[in-house]
């Protein structure tokens, strides 16, 4: 077309883009390190399935239509990349064709056909997207001018390319190609336009115009397309559409194994942390670069909001705002942080100590000024989170919200000493008597009186340790669950023992509320006890205990094979050690605990057990499985009052009551308490029984 103009556009466009991108990358590099250069094959698989496959959009029953809409726009975008390259080529060389995609191969033809259809589809989808936003107005969407601008640009890109090809068609076919435009004309595959119906359709819209006009349209649409594309490219890093560039890397770099980044084991003895204020996250530069990338990648889709139990009950935890607030804080401090990182890099091993002090002082000055909690994020927001992971489960770009919240809480609890004081009695109880209720540790095994349960201190030669947990030991309602569990294990002839008085709280809620000191204290004591007895296998009835014992204790030298009680019971049934009668009368549903489901992917075993004992089978709640709705007790919230908005447990209990069942099965002592309390408040506790799975099993065992 016009090599000079094309060159200028490309040089300017790409130069500006590069500059922006370099700064964005430098900003990430100025953040804390994290190791993600591992398990490459697993990472590629995630990227292919989640990012390229758009799994969380099209694989979700809810909002399938809009999921598909975006998927098409994305897939269209990917496919059209090749077309774009071709167009840039054509800017320089008339009739430019990419190798492999030229008219010499079937691939070329297939490509132009695909491209053509996709452009049509993308245009329709972009139109649908605008319609959704503007007319249907789904609650989760943030209606900003940016959204419309980008959708507009997408439509312009589609329209310009279609009209460009349309004008080409008209010139070539209707006006006898006066400018000798190139087109596909392979004798084997035929003329190009037989393969591109949508462009031909576009052509018919302007076929009434003269050849000169068509040629003008061709030129205008060509440059409009190029300019729009380069503008679009440069617009991407500036807002939520940065995800176009960062989503694939972000999914590639997501946490593996454990659903999100595991909480770092903080060195609480290290005195230098007080100088740097580096316990937890106190300044924006203490995020690691992957977390920074998360912030860049938030598409502001609002799915996290929709599933968040705190947000849907009117508490101020709006994760999209959470992401945005942190992102803006990061970007506001970009220049300073990059400078600060350069200073940090200049400190070498042999740097003079005085110079080091000077550099550190200058670094301190460049740190962010705003109080992260207080000015950027409010306290209520930070502490409202129940750590349920619903947000992470639906996020199409795999942002890991929860570890950030925990790290921010660490900063607050450890460095600032600011955290909801309601937690104090629970912490004090932990410290003194190893349980959040502060009940005398000497009573921990009283629930087992008369049940003939072995205590490790008397006989440690058993196959399994039954980890009872604080609720199972001290909470009157949960003690019944422990008793049922014992009945089942004894019926199955399993060799097991409990720690009794030596068992202490795993420290889960301390860690979730940022109190690493308390957590490490509990963990250390428990690990010592467990290792003394050479414990190998543990059965836990509480998903929080299970999660901490299995995934977090290894950090401090506690490596055990931990099985959740539903998993264990399922195995017992499958191996014939216990038999279930289908003697449960009444209608039954199951409430998936967050820490069992979303944290540990245990969804099937509880269902299999319940199906095995229920005559009427199992009804599923609307929000079930991966999208189960939290009971509200996680993240330390069990020990805090909900003073804002509607109570989460009430919301869930209402949902359960709406299913018209006579029993709701749970698999977690927190859920048991919260759901049962919710039923009491709804005055439905006589109609709807809340039972732990093992209570149901014990009642229906042969």
């Amino acid at each position: 077309m016009n090599p000079l103009f094309m060159s200028i556009l490309l040089i300017v466009g790409l130069a500006v883009f590069s500059r922006t991108m370099i700064q964005k990358v430098q900003l990430l590099m100025a953040l804390e390190p994290t190791d993600r250069a591992n398990h490459i094959m697993d990472r590629i698989k995630n990227m292919v399935v989640i990012a390229m496959g758009q799994k969380r959009l099209v694989g979700r029953k809810k909002e399938f239509a809009s999921g598909l809409m975006h998927a098409f726009i994305f897939w269209g975008f990917c496919i059209l990349l090749i077309r774009s390259l071709n167009l840039y080529g054509e800017g320089f060389v008339k009739g430019f064709q990419l190798p492999l995609f030229g008219d010499g191969s079937i691939l070329g033809y297939l490509y132009i056909a695909l491209k053509d259809i996709m452009e049509g589809i993308v245009l329709l989808m972009a139109g649908y997207a605008i319609f959704r936003r503007a007319i249907l107005k789904p609650a989760r969407l943030h209606n900003t001018w940016e959204a419309y601008f980008v959708l507009g640009m997408i439509m312009v890109l589609m329209i310009s390319d279609l009209l460009l090809d349309g004008a080409r068609y008209n010139l070539i076919v209707l006006f006898n190609n006066p400018d000798h435009l190139h087109f596909f004309n392979n004798p084997q595959y035929g003329a190009e336009f037989a393969w591109t119906p949508v462009s031909v359709g576009a052509a018919s819209l302007i076929s009434g115009l003269s050849a000169e006009t068509n040629a003008l349209i061709l030129t205008i649409m060509f440059w409009l397309h190029i300019i729009t594309q380069l503008t679009f490219l440069n617009f991407l890093p500036l807002g939520k559409h940065f995800h176009v560039i960062t989503a694939l890397p972000n999914v590639f770099l997501k946490s593996l194994g454990y659903p999100h980044e595991q909480t770092k084991l903080l060195d609480l003895e290290d005195e230098s942390v007080w100088e740097d204020e580096s316990l937890g996250i106190n300044h924006i530069h203490q995020l690691n670069w992957k977390q920074g990338l998360d912030l860049y990648t938030c598409t502001e889709c609002g799915r996290c909001k929709e599933v968040c139990p705190t947000y849907t009950t009117d508490k101020p935890l709006n994760l999209h705002d959470f992401n945005d607030s942190l992102k803006f804080e990061l970007l506001d401090n970009a220049d300073n942080l990059i400078k600060r990182a350069k200073l940090a890099a200049s400190i070498k091993e042999d740097t003079d100590p005085e110079k080091v002090e000077e550099i550190k002082a200058r670094m301190a000055e460049l740190a962010s000024k705003k109080a992260l909690i207080g000015e950027v994020i409010t306290e209520d927001t930070l502490w409202a989170c129940t750590n349920c992971r619903a947000c992470e489960q639906v996020c199409p770009v795999t942002i890991e919200h929860v570890p950030r919240i925990i790290a921010l809480r660490q900063g607050q609890a450890l460095m600032a000493g600011e955290y909801p004081q309601e937690l104090n009695p629970a912490f004090k109880g932990l410290e003194r008597n190893g349980n959040p209720w502060g009940i005398g540790y000497d009573k921990r095994a009283e629930w087992a009186d008369g049940l003939d349960v072995k205590i490790m201190a008397d006989d440690a030669d058993v196959d399994y340790l039954l980890w009872v947990g604080c609720a199972g030991s001290f909470d009157d309602r949960s003690k019944k669950v422990s008793v049922s569990m014992v009945k089942i294990l004894q019926k199955a002839g399993i060799s097991f023992a409990i720690l009794g008085k030596e068992e202490k709280c795993t420290g889960d809620f301390a860690r979730r509320t940022g109190n690493e000191m308390m957590y490490q204290m509990m963990a250390q004591e428990n690990i010592e006890t467990l290792n003394n007895y050479k414990v190998k296998k543990i059965i836990a009835a509480c998903p929080h205990c299970y999660n901490t014992l299995q995934h977090e204790y290894p950090q401090m030298g506690g490596n055990y094979e931990v099985i959740h009680h539903t998993d264990f019971i399922d195995q017992l049934i499958k191996s014939g050690k216990i038999t279930l009668n289908k003697s449960f009368e009444g209608s039954l549903t199951y409430h998936d605990p967050c820490f069992l489901g979303r944290y540990n992917s245990i969804y099937d075993q509880p269902r299999s057990i319940l199906q095995g004992l229920s005559k009427q089978g199992l009804k599923e709640l609307d929000r079930n499985g991966e999208e189960s709705f939290c009971c509200g007790a996680g993240g330390g919230r069990m020990w805090m009052e909900e003073t804002i908005g509607k109570r989460i447990n009430l919301e869930r209990s209402e949902e359960i009551a709406g299913k018209q069942v006579t029993t709701v099965a749970v698999a977690c002592p927190f859920c048991l308490t919260m759901v049962e309390d919710g039923m009491k408040e709804l005055n439905k506790d006589e109609e709807i029984m809340t039972q732990d799975i093992c209570e149901l099993v014990a009642k229906n065992m042969a």
Partner: protein, 260 residues
């Protein structure tokens, strides 16, 4: 303003306490800071933070008391005096009061704050006896404190007729109850710094006195023996038709229990 705060290490009353052969079974017991003394420490630290008071704690007990001293340091107390003398294992309120008097006289304290009673003895006498012996004004069961000036504080006391607002001239002694505040959990920073702080440990000789002088050989009362507390047993429980069982119970209250 200089404040002296007394702190005692007592058995954790959450635990079951067993008595055998007239004595308490020590096995399995754990010892913690007296709850009301924790309130006293919190009140003291608040006076430091709000009024710039200087703070010192005093505790009487064995080497095990070190952990509660460090905890109080972590809460914000600046200095500690630890009277560690094995002869004091057998003491009564008077002996404690006399030892505390010696400590008090060696500093220039304006205010002594103690918890209203110790959870092991539940006596609630030591502070008041100390104040009486020092002839300084004393108010017990305090739920609020306010500094008026260098010489006066205003306190609220929970009395029988209601809440009494009393103005005290310093030096004075107050005993506090748990309604006064919620003792803070020591912050991490405090705990780290507390690890290195010095504690002033001394025995009675170091204090410039002796067991004899503080009345150790002349205890006014002694615990002859411990006995198990009788726990209340469950009585009769009635389930069924409300009208029927209620009538039954009312009848029993009148005829059997004779309380109606």
């Amino acid at each position: 303003m200089k404040i002296l705060t007394t702190v005692k290490k007592v058995v954790d009353v959450e635990l079951n306490i067993h008595v055998e052969n007239g004595a308490i079974v020590e096995d399995g017991l754990q010892y913690v800071i007296n709850a009301w003394d924790e309130n006293a420490v919190e009140a003291t630290v608040q006076l430091k933070e709000n009024n710039g008071a200087q703070t010192t704690l005093v505790t009487i007990g064995g080497p095990d008391n070190t952990d509660i001293i460090r905890r109080c340091y972590a809460m914000g107390i600046e200095d500690a005096i630890h009277i560690d003398d094995s002869s004091l294992e057998k003491a009564d309120s008077y002996v404690y009061a006399n030892v505390l008097q010696k400590v008090y006289e060696q500093g220039e304290y304006d205010l002594i704050i103690t918890g209203k009673q110790a959870q092991d003895t539940d006596n609630g006498q030591t502070g008041i006896i100390l104040a009486q012996n020092l002839d300084i004004p004393c108010v017990s069961n305090v739920v609020a404190m306010e500094v008026l000036d260098d010489q006066h504080i205003k306190v609220s006391r929970l009395g029988d007729a209601g809440t009494e607002i009393i103005e005290l001239e310093l030096p004075a002694l107050v005993t506090v109850t748990d309604s006064i505040n919620e003792p803070r959990l020591p912050a991490m920073r405090g705990i780290m710094m507390a690890k290195k702080k010095k504690i002033n440990v001394m025995d009675l000789a170091g204090l410039g006195t002796s067991f004899e002088e503080v009345g150790g050989n002349d205890l006014k009362s002694e615990i002859a023996e411990y006995m198990t507390s009788e726990t209340r047993q469950a009585g009769q429980k009635f389930e069924g038709d409300a009208a029927q069982i209620t009538a039954q119970v009312v009848n029993l209250l009148a005829t059997e229990a004779k309380v109606l």
